[in-house]
Amino acid sequence: MHRFAKPSVFLKLTDPILPWLAGATAILIAAGLYFALFASPIDYQQGDTVRIMYLHVPAAWMGLFCYVGMAICGAMSLIWKHPLADICARATAPIGATFTALCLITGSLWGEPMWGTWWVWDARLTSMLILLFLYLGYIALVNAFDDPERGSKAGSALALVGAINVPIVKFSVDWWNTLHQPASIVRMDGPAVDPSMQLPLALMILGFTSYYFVVLILRVRLELNERRIRALQLSGMFDERPDHKDAGSRNYEAGHNMEANQ
């Protein structure tokens, strides 16, 4: 695994993968949306509003998935000091925060016609909201330092602390809600999901997950290229660019691995 932590190896590996992954994302989401919006039956109680679920559930899944990914990247960056793990953790945070926000927004759009209110202090809603706060705290902390390295390190520690805390928060919010449970709420987890609805749901979840990897690769590549430009500018390589093709690719490698080799 450590082999892949080199930025240049990452770039070489993701180069051929990226178009396939992007294509798969487009097909999965297109198919998922077709099944979700047209080819699936309406719910006998919820009517067409049930279709919001096909966006809502995958978004909730991605919100949690990204946080776990961020914590794992943070742990890797603290233990092995991989520069790539840092960049992955940083790149994941805004994606996860967006999915969590999407989950909250679609949830409240669904709640208005179903529950008759935009927001309920339900245990799940509240824990998702707290997850969003954790994401925002991470993003704010990472960007609060003049030295991006220090920001990433602090962020990694916070992501780990948060990952330990998330189950405790979840448990305590569940407890809190059973204490203050309002009279009656239509719960989402009534009967099991019908097979005709499982297909679009699975497609959308897969599509969202591969969308995350596409965006992650793009963001990491952007960050790597920015760093490379900075490194090249600092070392003045732009001024004396050799005509030699071999020398050019050697410099390319040098620029990418500069931080990894430190």
């Binding site: 706060f133 704010a140 390190k153 916070l158 780990l160 602390v161 805390n165 928060v169 305590s172």
Partner: protein, 221 residues
Amino acid sequence: MNGFFAILRRDLSLALRQGADSVMVVAFFIVTTTLFPFGVGPEANILARIASGVIWVSALLAAMLSLERVFQTDYEDGTLELLTLSPVSLELLVLGKVLAHWLTTGLPLIIAAPLMALMLNMDQDGFITLMVAMLLGTPALSLIGAIGAALILGARRGGVLVSLLVLPLYIPVLIFGAGAVEAALLGISATAQLQIMAAILLIALAATPFATANAVRQAME
């Protein structure tokens, strides 16, 4: 252990000589609590109903606002760097600083809490539970908050940042702290909530010094 007591004595005497710090935390707590009757109206029933929550939220905010001074001044004058370099384990020193922080902020808050509970018309059945819950909860607040205080060393706008980092992590303490008082007021046993708070405190005591020491070392790199 000598290092632990030395740092505890140093931080305590520093805090006592500039006594304003502790007084300020209590004053903030009292003023914040006093704002609520203006916001929700002076009806005794409503105030009694929300008293436990109001006291806990105000205590949370007061504990959070005082976090900055755990490491900030030592960071600025270089003391923290020497502490990091010293042969004594940094985790122990961090624990000493956190204990000093709790003795100068958490303890005064516990003493001030029944007074505010009285003013908010809370039923007297809940007083003992409130104080026990705060005795278990406020050390956990200091321990968890110290991580945030160490993470923001050297950051821009650290004071605002620490609230965003630490407040979500405070939620479990708030839930069980307020829940314990609520249970006592309803005449139910609050043992379950208090036990969970003790568990949170023990976990925090075992785990947070490592995270905090790690964050301090990062700030020194």
